[in-house]
């Protein structure tokens, strides 16, 4: 039994079916890469797993229990989704990095945040930075550590390196490798050639269906 199980999952938006009868089992600790052309349904599949949308039919389970039987916020804290080109919210970097603490009702831990910022090569003074002053690469690095303040059991990465400068891309890829070593299950969606070539476990997606 995998940590994430999809059984006959389909998703339609109005008349348009985006995901067709997908079966998928992801083992705990796995690093799964899903590749495929844009518009094939990769992001939708991740959003379904993250419970940001719900399947039209079929079931998704996490640790053997149906997604719908969890308290939704608790589920999303454990199956955490990181957006492609995130915009970040509110005003400052601090607002973004303090939300995970607020959600869990625990006080802000500056040491923890300092260590995480260091991992993505950003100084602690970065906390006071305004979001509008950040580059795309910096936003993505902040977004990623936002997901990792309290490490989730499953981390969903939606083309997180798309549009990043080389330096940010290297930092982000190093961080992902680091996360993988912490026994977090990773599912990434990408069409980056080097990421596909380096993938340990690769599944291809075409027109809303996984290729066997």
């Amino acid at each position: 039994m995998g940590i994430i199980e999809l059984q006959n999952v389909s998703y339609a938006d109005g008349d348009q079916t985006i995901i067709h009868h997908v079966d998928l089992s992801v083992t705990a600790g796995d690093f799964l890469t899903i590749s495929g052309p844009s518009g094939c349904g990769k992001s939708t599949l991740l959003k379904l797993i993250a419970s940001l949308i719900s399947p039209t039919s079929g079931t998704i389970s996490f640790n053997g229990k149906n997604q719908n039987d969890y308290d939704y916020p608790t589920y999303r804290q454990q199956v955490s989704y990181c957006f492609q080109q995130p915009t970040l919210f509110d005003t400052s970097v601090l607002d973004n990095l303090s939300l995970p603490f607020q959600i869990r009702g625990v006080p802000f831990d500056e040491n923890k945040i300092s260590a995480l910022l260091q991992l993505v090569d950003l100084p602690l003074t970065f906390l006071d930075k305004k979001i509008i002053d950040l580059s795309g690469g910096e936003k993505q690095r902040v977004a990623l550590i936002r997901n990792l303040v309290f490490p989730p059991q499953v981390l969903l990465l939606d083309e997180v390196t798309v549009g990043l400068d080389t330096r940010s891309k290297t930092i982000v890829q190093a961080l992902i490798k680091n996360v993988q070593h912490q026994a977090t299950t990773l599912i990434q969606v990408t069409h980056d050639e080097t990421e596909i070539a380096a993938a340990a476990h690769l599944i291809e997606m075409r027109q809303g269906a996984l290729q066997k």
């Binding site: 993250a50 940001l52 989704y81 977004a143 936002r146």
Partner: protein
């Protein structure tokens, strides 16, 4: 007491003022002439009717009828505020609750202080005054909430994805919307007496009351409006934001 000089003949002459608005609309191609005429027609008919209704209600001075009239005002105010909500997933009774609670709490407090007596000629006009201000505040709150849910969709999704419950995900825009709804009342309180000599006070002065007494009523009205707009906006906002999510705490698509 000074003599009130508005009669039917002077009203017909005053209609020239409406013609000014229509002329501007015509020259500037605003396309508002039909709307202006309709609004004037409605105002005349509604006010004439209410004039007679109030005369009757004041004369028979019946508690049940007075309450019914107040409910009628709240019901209509709620309907207008409800129609200003751009969210297709809206609910009339939530708007009614916001208007009803904000109006009755404000009225209740003012009656407890002894400033207002439960007689139709006092309760009904004051209900109209507070309900209409609450209506405007609730409408503003709805429109602001809607545009923020549209503009900040991505931010809300990011908060949800991190495991935030819907209230935490929406709290910044909810606060912003409630603030926007209360702002006009606060602003108008700041300029009161400097820019406007508001309705209540003007009416009393017209009717020959000493301006120093008249301002006391206006201060009372200002207190009431602050209370009713803040209550109305906060209740409406807290009920309305939930309707942008489904029961799985997912953000709904807006159409």
């Amino acid at each position: 007491m000074s003599q009130l000089l508005v009669n039917n003949v002077t009203l017909v002459f005053a209609f020239a003022l409406v013609l000014v608005a229509m002329l501007i609309s015509y020259r500037e191609k605003l396309g508002l002439n039909k709307d202006i005429l309709l609004s004037i027609f409605r105002a005349i008919v509604q006010l004439t009717l209410i004039g007679y209704v109030l005369k009757y209600i004041f004369k028979i001075n019946n508690t049940f009828l007075t309450i019914l009239m107040c409910l009628f005002i709240i019901f209509n105010a709620a309907w207008n505020a409800y129609k200003r909500n751009p969210n297709s997933n809206r609910n009339y009774w939530e708007t009614f609750a916001a208007l009803f609670i904000s109006t009755t709490i404000t009225l209740g407090i003012i009656m407890l202080t002894g400033s207002l007596k439960f007689i139709p000629s006092q309760v009904i006009p004051i209900t109209g005054m507070i309900a209409s201000n609450s209506m405007v505040a609730v409408g503003l709150c709805y429109r602001n909430l809607h545009s923020q849910f549209r503009d900040q969709r991505q931010q809300i999704l990011e908060k949800l994805a991190l495991g935030a419950p819907i209230k935490l995900a929406a709290i910044t825009i909810l606060r912003e919307s409630i603030k926007t709804a209360m702002q006009p009342t606060i602003d108008s309180a700041k300029t009161m007496g400097l820019v406007s000599l508001p309705g209540m006070m003007s009416g009393l002065i017209f009717a020959g009351v000493d301006p120093v007494s008249a301002i006391r009523y206006q201060i009372l009205v200002t207190f009431m409006l602050l209370s009713t707009t803040s209550l109305g906006a906060i209740i409406a906002g807290y009920l309305a934001y939930r309707r942008y999510f489904n029961d799985r705490q997912q953000l709904l698509d807006q159409n």
